[in-house]
């Protein structure tokens, strides 16, 4: 399976989000670069609203992620509860 990734700015807002992503995607690898974090996963990566809300202790709208995203790879699907990045083959 090919690698999908999501790169986020390193800041106070993304810290709990990165934590949530790593918790929900056990195979994901976190590559820390200057001022940014690139999370790589094999074929599929999920960002879950509920996990983020548990960590930050407030309601979270996944569209808030728009502010801190840098780049990504893979097909994307977003709902109220999840953002999924995936390759079909």
């Amino acid at each position: 399976m090919s690698t999908v990734f999501l790169a986020l700015q390193t800041n106070e807002e993304t810290r709990p989000i990165i934590e949530a992503i790593l918790q929900d995607n056990p195979g994901a690898v976190c590559d820390e670069q200057p001022a940014m974090v690139k999370i790589n996963a094999d074929g599929r990566l999920v960002v879950r609203r509920e996990t983020i809300e548990e960590i930050i202790g407030r309601a979270y709208d996944l569209q808030e992620l728009q502010v801190n995203m840098i780049t990504m790879s893979g097909n994307l699907d977003q709902t109220d509860d999840e953002i999924t990045l995936f390759w079909k083959s």
């Binding site: 090919s2 200057p34 001022a35 569209q63 728009q66 780049t71 097909n75 083959s89």
Partner: protein, 517 residues
């Protein structure tokens, strides 16, 4: 008793449907083909526009909200940067030349992209892509503006950025990025989406922004890093649009596949040729390097693009053929480009220099196959000559490739000591090319590319001198007249970094910032 019940909000999918397709209507007294006149001539067949959906499902109301937040963050930092004399915190003044390249070469393209997406969005009958194009069009003008604002803090202190837009339309090497985008916006709306939306934004943008932005971060440039990240947050959405557009077109009709494949082949090559400027910036112009051009190409194109084309294989799309040639050029591209700019430093809006000993060592380690054998000896010779007072500035004009407009400095694939020349006879004229892909692109659309505005030919025709210039007078200095036409001041905006005002001023100002005098 009235109960206060929280009004149930619409879910993301419903909200997206209401705010895109829900706002659309079917015309009753005008024909669709009159309203959308550009839908047929490129040969692309679309049967159901409603199949297109933005995977982020972003609607205009949310768009304004998040963009406003991005702007607030960005301008808070730009103000802090200016208030804190941020320009003196960069690694050394050579770094500022990357900003000159960016403001005159890239920022004007953001503005053209704004116009291009506005035009493409207007041309599509589908509400989904129209809304996504509208957002991208607004993003692009935001990028142009924020880049101008962020870099204007450098323009107050350093040379070469004072008239970037005028230069973009005139300076010889800036015709490379300019003609690339002009080529895209003069294509039909579907080709525009494949050229910029897919090939540039999805396949190649990481090679432009990620190295540039992390380069800024590595080199202490907080202002540029911040606008870069702010723009990059929009890029993630643009990439998604680019990929969705491709999948949508391919799923609509099998007859679309060969047309799209030809566009992908063409635009991957065209985009790669423009990235020559980025390759040279990464390997030579950043005092503190992030990664080499070759490494970036391997991560962001070979690995990441490889995954993408594997995924698109189910539609019958294959990796562009030019990828093989690019792989052969990756050990040479940046060195050949920097050598060219070193020679033509008299006619550019930024300074060049020879790498120091540590930098040569870095280049050897990153390019073990090519650097010590082919490029180090050349640089050592030039450095010796410069030390003896013979710093060489080429004042003749190079032959340009008719398609990419880059001087014909690239070597044969696999034969790095032989310059690559291709030519085509068309309607009694001879046209020159730097490579097979550039030649093939011309051969497919000769009537488009014979109209190219080539800076060298224009200078020879006398079109690049200030009004009233008489090139027939004795002792006429063509270069001086051309620099005047570019609005560049000879000896100030051009030539070697070592003798530049930028270098002298930066050292002096940094001294003042750290000592009591």
């Amino acid at each position: 008793m009235d109960m206060q019940v929280a009004k149930k909000k619409l879910g993301l999918k419903e909200r997206y449907a209401v705010m895109t397709r829900g706002l659309d209507w079917t015309p009753s007294y005008q024909k669709m083909e009159d309203i959308y006149p550009y839908m047929a001539y490129e040969g692309i067949k679309i049967h159901d526009w409603d199949k297109w959906e933005d995977p982020f499902r972003l609607t205009m109301d949310s768009y304004w909200k998040y963009q406003a937040e991005k702007e607030r963050k960005l301008y808070a930092i730009i103000d802090a940067f200016a208030q804190n004399n941020g320009h003196l915190n960069v690694t050394d003044a050579r770094y500022i030349n990357t900003l000159k390249l960016f403001i005159s070469g890239i920022s004007p393209l953001e503005y053209v992209a704004h116009r291009g997406f506005a035009h493409a969005g207007r041309a599509f009958p589908g509400a989904g892509p129209r809304v996504a194009c509208l957002m991208q069009s607004l993003d692009e003008i935001r990028h142009a503006q924020t880049q101008v604002h962020a870099i204007s803090n450098y323009n107050k202190y350093y040379n070469g950025m004072h008239d970037f837009h005028h230069m973009h339309d005139r300076v010889w090497f800036l015709s490379v990025p300019k003609s690339f985008f002009d080529d895209a916006i003069t294509a039909g709306p579907f080709e525009f989406m494949v050229s910029i939306g897919f090939s540039f934004e999805y396949v190649l943008t990481n090679l432009l922004f990620v190295p540039f932005v992390s380069g800024a971060a590595y080199n202490g440039d907080m202002g540029t890093m911040t606008f870069g990240f702010s723009a990059q947050s929009d890029e993630a959405r643009h990439m998604t649009l680019g990929l969705e557009v491709i999948k949508f077109i391919l799923e609509q009709d099998p007859a679309n596949v060969p047309i799209v494949q030809r566009w992908i082949d063409k635009w991957t090559w065209r985009g790669y040729r423009v990235l020559t400027l980025v390759a040279m910036m990464m390997d030579y112009m950043l005092p503190k390097r992030t990664m080499s051009w070759k490494e970036a190409w391997e991560v962001y194109f070979e690995e990441n693009g490889g995954a993408l084309f594997k995924d698109l294989a189910r539609y019958g799309i294959t990796m562009p053929k030019c990828a093989e040639q690019i792989a052969l050029e990756k050990d040479h591209l940046s060195h050949q480009a920097w050598s060219t700019f070193y020679n033509y430093a008299a006619a550019a809006n930024f300074h060049t220099w020879m790498p120091d000993e540590d930098e040569m060592t870095w280049l050897s380690s990153k390019y073990p196959e090519s650097f010590d054998k082919l490029y180090r000896p050349r640089y050592e010779f030039w450095r010796e000559q410069a030390a003896k007072g013979n710093r060489f500035y080429s004042k003749t004009l190079p032959m340009l490739c008719q398609t990419c407009q880059i001087p014909m400095v690239f070597t044969e694939p696999g034969e790095p000591t032989k310059i690559c020349y291709r030519e085509v006879d068309y309607k009694g004229d001879k046209y020159h090319f730097c490579s097979d892909p550039c030649k093939q692109i011309f051969e497919h659309e000769p009537e488009k590319y014979i109209q190219a505005w080539l800076p060298v030919q224009q200078i020879y025709q006398g079109n690049c001198f200030p009004e009233g210039t008489d090139p027939t007078v004795e002792g006429f200095d063509a270069l001086a007249a051309v620099l005047k036409y570019y609005n560049l001041e000879n000896g100030r905006d051009n030539l070697d970094f070592d003798i530049s005002e930028d270098k002298k001023n930066f050292a002096e100002w940094r001294g003042q910032a750290t000592k009591n005098i």
